[in-house]
Symmetry: C2
Subunit: 218 residues, 2 copies
Amino acid sequence: MNKATSIAPSERTQVRRIAENADYERATLYAIIDDAYLCHVAFADDKGSHCIPTACWREENYLYIHAANPSRLAKILVNGASACVAITHLDGLVLARAAFNHSMNYRSAMIYGVFERVEDEHKAASMAAFMDKLALGRQQQARPGNRAELAGTTVMRIALTEAACKVRSGGPNDDEEDMAFDVWTGVLPFTRQTLAPIAHESNTQAAPDYVRNWYQSK
Amino acid sequence: MNKATSIAPSERTQVRRIAENADYERATLYAIIDDAYLCHVAFADDKGSHCIPTACWREENYLYIHAANPSRLAKILVNGASACVAITHLDGLVLARAAFNHSMNYRSAMIYGVFERVEDEHKAASMAAFMDKLALGRQQQARPGNRAELAGTTVMRIALTEAACKVRSGGPNDDEEDMAFDVWTGVLPFTRQTLAPIAHESNTQAAPDYVRNWYQSK
């Protein structure tokens, strides 16, 4: 493991199940986050555990999320709650000869830690980075967030210091004794496919680059 | 709300943020689960909160998952841990005239409760139901799970009794005062797209229906 490019596993991020799929490279983690529009955040309160899907983006070595100030997510996470963030891209179904050896191809990331509040002076820049992820260039076209809107939004970030990835790709791993079993074996892949943009009925503007390139680009 | 077809919200499943997107219909919940190959399960132990992606399937009014016996997931969940299961399908980016009104289209489900162990006599049938979801008909072709494989697998289920969905579709909701803002507005949709099946190099069999129909069917 190269200390400059990888993240040392902690007790919580040391992959134990199918450990050969573990990946502690920072580049892998960044790629998985950057390819995701949303993450799932786990935390607990006096009502039990919660698993909340929310939009996410990355700036340097932090994962960012945002929420309305009155939301449970905003109120609990910036108050020191132990959090775990998961991002999972499913890439295919892996059909092996034995039922037991069936699997899935995936790229998954898990981040442990505590969120911190992004202070007011950095909030607008963080939301701009989020917009750049969604639609590069739109930041300069849309009506920017005003004071009240920004004030009503909590932006939070979690450091990518206690994190690990798990990645599976390729075909099935059949056992030697199953090889004579007569059944199709291979992968049924899928991907996130962009579809044709749908202009709103009130739209009057020509499609900018990030709209025109949407359908072809992914 | 029709009591026969919907699920009464609990304190934990009453949607509070953007409550007009709440959906408590059982049919919506079932459709979201049936369209998902994986869920994220949140639970907590003495090391903090965890958010674990895992394959899921549905039988009647239960969501099922499975895990190797020695895994943390299996050990903790069948011992009464408070769990929250989330499934989120992301359908598109919603580009509004104001940065603040940007959104995403999604279909999400959240289930609260405690998992119970599926006892040995029902395990094989549950795993068969899982296989039917992945590839209908393969159950009769693949080498079935043997005694040791089944014995090493924990199958768990959670009742769909404390659950809610949240669904957003359609275009942006612009504010009246932003309508004169000259910027493209609409939806950038995506979908889970199947790709051409990849037979393993060791494969000798013709593609069965669930393989031949994979690329066209979704």
